[in-house]
Symmetry: C2
Subunit: 309 residues, 2 copies
């Protein structure tokens, strides 16, 4: 039996610092409303489904956060203020360019007499400086806040809170729901308290997560432009599933993508039509990102949407 | 029914680049055998259990890789060569000090006429330079190789391959099995090909993973000093479970820790006795790491082990 979204929130306690996050989100929205800025809420990364209250094991969704973190940078470049709601340890805007060993391999130590200086090696300076300038500018303009989650429950509480904070922006709010949210969960009261013993192989019974797009579109942020994502591994069901979601929830756009080709191609599905956005192999090799084209396309749609209303 | 370790390897194909990794590991072991160095294999991070062949969903184990990555640095400081086998995107030695925004916040841009220089801010130079020096020295001395895995299957194939490569080092080899390896898995031939549909809530049936410590200790690397880890959330079963493992597999040491206090306290369990290693709150505040004390303790035990044999 699927519980309703009201039952889900009644049964699963909110994250401890939700009140703090709520005021942060409200003051961010208020400021950008006054400054007449558009604001996008980007969700990014996968959600964790704990199998135990003292969590050792969990079910997770594949998502590095590439789509969300890259898109955040392009929205910022286009003047949007960004609320970046991301899974802890998934990719983040700006720092995503320096993961792994890359940054240590770029640094040189120079020691003069009693002074030690650490610099970025000349061959990397241009790239690092470019990202760093954008990062510092964003901070200075107060255009980005980042809010992290781990579990599905945290994600859903934060999503609702962020939507409610954004409602005052009306059609200036854009929702870009790129996080890979689990369809399933283990209810709070059915979870094991301690680490599941390995004496016998367990069977995990999952329940369906209530669809939050419905209250989101109808109640929480009813005037916003809302985009959801659909990831599949089977090409044959991709567009039909995207269209089914669109018909059901009546939001504005679904961006459909295949796991295998998601960095090169997406399908933009609206009520009116669907079309492919893709990068050529040449563009891929030059390091261009499909998120740049997705964001450009969406910003145009968001503009038209605001005109019509 | 639990399958044997032979059945597991027969049923689950090896990672594609295993042959390459194998020669890398062999030449690393051979070189350090000639140079009379001790070599530690550190496993670190959690293992992923895919629920689909085209993996969107997976069961995972909680592990950031803090224990393994910190320990690697202390083994290197003590002259060991290190094979660091880690879950992709978990913490790595040296870079672990610069995760998140930290590194971007440490950098300054200076622009003089036509030249742009990016430097680490003076207040951070000492710390960055200290880590950077150790990192560069390690690279130069060829004392560290890093091998990454994602799934349980990849982990087990790599573990066996690394052990077989290390066998030539006899009692100079140390195994420090800190990875959080899943006890359960979904067999290759029972996995769904595509993303599990969310039409109905699924039930995931997990099987027990065969215990690899047995062939590891008896066949793959029989003369090495072998340390396993035991993580629990229930204090009452911790030491007894550690001791049960020790009696069953006849390896050298279990390091037992509680999820909640693992950064401050561990229990060293050997055939002879068990005792606590812990940090005072003062040490915690100063940023000292318990891994420093664990590694010092183990190196002494490893030395005595080599003497006796």
């Amino acid at each position: 039996m699927v519980s309703t979204w009201e039952e889900f929130f009644a049964k699963h306690p909110p994250p401890q610092d939700l009140t703090q996050t709520e005021s942060l989100l409200k003051s961010f929205s208020d400021r950008h409303l006054k400054e007449n800025n558009k604001v996008v809420l980007i969700t990014s990364g996968g959600t964790m489904i704990p199998l135990e209250h003292n969590t050792v094991r969990f079910v997770d969704n594949f998502s590095a956060g590439s789509r969300g973190s890259a898109s955040a940078e392009y929205f910022l470049e286009n003047g949007y203020a960004v609320i970046f709601m991301y899974r802890l340890k998934s990719l983040e805007p700006f720092t995503r360019h320096f993961i792994g060993h890359k940054i240590l391999d770029m640094l040189n130590i120079t020691e003069n007499a009693d002074k030690c200086i650490v610099t970025v090696a000349p061959e990397h300076t241009d790239k690092v400086a470019m990202v760093l300038r954008k990062y510092k500018e964003t901070l200075q303009q107060n255009k980005l806040i980042q809010i992290s989650f781990n579990t599905l429950t945290e994600y859903l509480w934060l999503l609702r809170t962020a939507c409610q904070a954004l409602a005052c922006l009306k059609d200036k709010a854009l929702l870009y729901l790129a996080a890979a949210v689990s369809d399933f969960y283990v209810p709070f009261d059915e979870m094991s308290v301690h680490k599941i013993s390995s004496n016998g192989p367990p069977t995990i019974s999952l329940q369906l997560v209530p669809k939050m797009l419905e209250p989101l579109v109808n109640l929480w942020v009813p005037q916003a432009f809302v985009i959801s994502f659909k990831l599949e591994t089977d090409q044959n069901v991709l567009v039909s599933k995207a269209r089914t979601a669109l018909n059901k929830y009546k939001h504005n756009l679904v961006i459909a993508n295949m796991l295998q080709t998601r960095k090169q191609q997406v399908i933009i599905v609206s009520k009116e039509n669907d079309y492919i956005l893709s990068l050529t192999n040449e563009q891929m090799e030059k390091g261009e990102e499909i998120e740049k084209f997705i964001v450009t396309d969406i910003i145009l749609k968001h503009k038209n949407f605001s005109k019509i209303r």
